[in-house]
Symmetry: C2
Subunit: 329 residues, 2 copies
């Protein structure tokens, strides 16, 4: 087991400058002491290679400068892209992100959310698996929370970037109906048992309105697992798919290819998200685009403002756009 090398503490800096630890602490944060002293302390600290211990700092001050990011399921390529984008945007704001993956499991979501709070993150961005969980209200009591995707029921969030799923679903299903599809398999991500999740409600409402015959099935976002599900649905005679995540649609591509079925001649697929790879497939995946960069920017702006103590709450609604590429025959 390696030996932790001994590091300089604030007391040593205090000794070396002839000041009290308190003054050094203030000086290093540029408060309450004379310019001259600040300069001197900085110099001595640099000489000694002193850097404040983030753990001790967190314990004493309750602040860390970190932003927590709790993703619903990182198996999803789009969510991966979102996480990476948020991480980089936060970096540009001199913040840094703690990225955690709830793996689509509400109970893990609970555990990790609490863990982040206990880690003293200054604020939290969450892409909820179960937006109706009481957890969120509890969490909002103790730190600013920004949600992406869905509104958190009954919680005082510090901001929300929500998708207009009603419009998105309408766009998708009308497009499929216009192309002559009536019997549609809807593949949605595995998720909380909440039966009345907003997006699902819209699907039911719209299919009823448009007179469609749907079968809803949950599917994991990992390619291999999504392919399994798609394979089963193809075997069951389904030939038109509305996938609630591009990652799931990729599974339909894979399963169709295996069985020699051609898209869009034999099988029709719609995605939901627009991951960069969707444009590279042939045919390109027709999908519903949510402007991922806009979401990243909005979420980061909200969370940084909240972490800085800004209390103005905002709700930003993202409008969807149909990205037609030819996967619906």
């Amino acid at each position: 087991m390696p030996q932790p090398r001994k590091r300089a503490t604030i007391r040593e800096v205090a000794k070396a400058t002839g000041l009290s630890p308190a003054s050094v602490s203030y000086a290093l944060r540029g408060m309450q002491v004379s310019e001259e002293t600040i300069e001197r302390v900085r110099r001595v600290a640099a000489e000694l290679g002193y850097e404040a211990d983030p753990i001790a700092r967190a314990l004493a001050s309750g602040r860390t400068g970190m932003i927590g990011l709790l993703c619903g399921s990182l198996e999803d390529l789009w969510q991966q892209a979102l996480a990476v984008g948020i991480g980089r945007a936060l970096k540009d704001n001199d913040r840094y992100a703690l990225i955690l993956d709830a793996t689509g499991d509400p109970s893990r979501e609970r555990t990790l959310a609490r863990q982040l709070r206990d880690q003293r993150v200054d604020a939290l961005i969450v892409q909820p698996v179960d937006p109706a969980a009481p957890l969120w209200a509890e969490l909002c009591e103790s730190l600013p929370v920004v949600s992406i995707g869905d509104s958190l029921a009954g919680a005082r969030t510090a901001g929300e970037v929500v998708f207009d799923n009603r419009a998105g679903v309408t766009l998708a299903l009308e497009h499929m109906r216009d192309r002559g599809h009536r019997r549609i398999a809807v593949l949605t991500p595995t998720r909380a048992s909440t039966p009345d999740r907003p997006a699902d409600v819209h699907v039911l409402a719209e299919t009823a309105r448009l007179g469609l015959d749907i079968e809803v099935v949950t599917a994991p976002q990992a390619l291999a697992a999504a392919t399994d599900v798609a394979r089963r649905m193809l075997a069951g005679g389904h030939r038109a798919f509305f996938c609630f995540a591009d990652s799931i649609a990729y599974g339909v591509y894979a399963a169709s290819a295996e069985q020699g079925l051609r898209i869009p001649a034999d099988v029709s697929v719609m995605g939901y998200d627009d991951h960069p790879m969707s444009g590279l497939l042939s045919p390109g995946l027709t999908t519903v685009d949510w402007d991922i960069d806009g979401i990243v920017r909005a979420a980061v702006r909200l969370v940084v403002a909240a972490a800085d103590g800004n209390t103005r709450r905002r709700r930003i609604v993202q409008a969807p756009e149909l990205r037609e590429r030819g996967s619906v025959g």
Copy 2:
């Protein structure tokens, strides 16, 4: 600003059980006290909703139970997959990962690596941007480090999962030569200025041996940026590409499609990594496969052992496999 709700401390549990804080601390970790007391303390703690504060615990004990994961560049889809896989595998070991993204920048890599050490992660998995940096030797002094991809020069790592890049490069370049390509553009990720990075050395050696005419260019892994580079190379007359990451190869697909060039008829592309999406493209991307699951398992096994105090150092060499899918004409 939300008010942190007051939480139970160990002293309150001590009061409630009539024990000393020390005993409670031991009891909750199942040490040094009688079974009966352990049971009682557990019960009372649960009643009070007590849970040990991880920050205070980290300060006092220097341990956190977390494993740090420092990725070279999360723009790369393969590295994203690796990070997600490692996160999930660690979860199965009841550990949890702190995922950070060096964004391909050696100086950020330094900062983040030190930050992880200061966060008291029990161990670190790193996919180095600059494997020759003196940083690693320093880091290995204070915590177990497992590296993925390259060996860390002069550092006493706790384990390594390295790729046999010599074999991988040979596999790729021989394949291209066998298909009749002589003039090849090599697209490598942006990286440290280290000119003698092992993989690059192999490329030069092999091209010389095989009598190839190469031009080496660095390219970012983000699709849009990689496409830009590919576009320029196509404009420069290049028609055969060896990309040192599948993500970069995707950029060649995109740029070729834009210009109406067909793969493999007009343009040939080889990747390096084998991301799941590579099999979905048409034609599938011919690439060098590194068995990502094996890497994940090996790295996690090594790092968990090291975090548990096991000092046996191991070096695992991954052998490449050519995954031929038709993108090389």
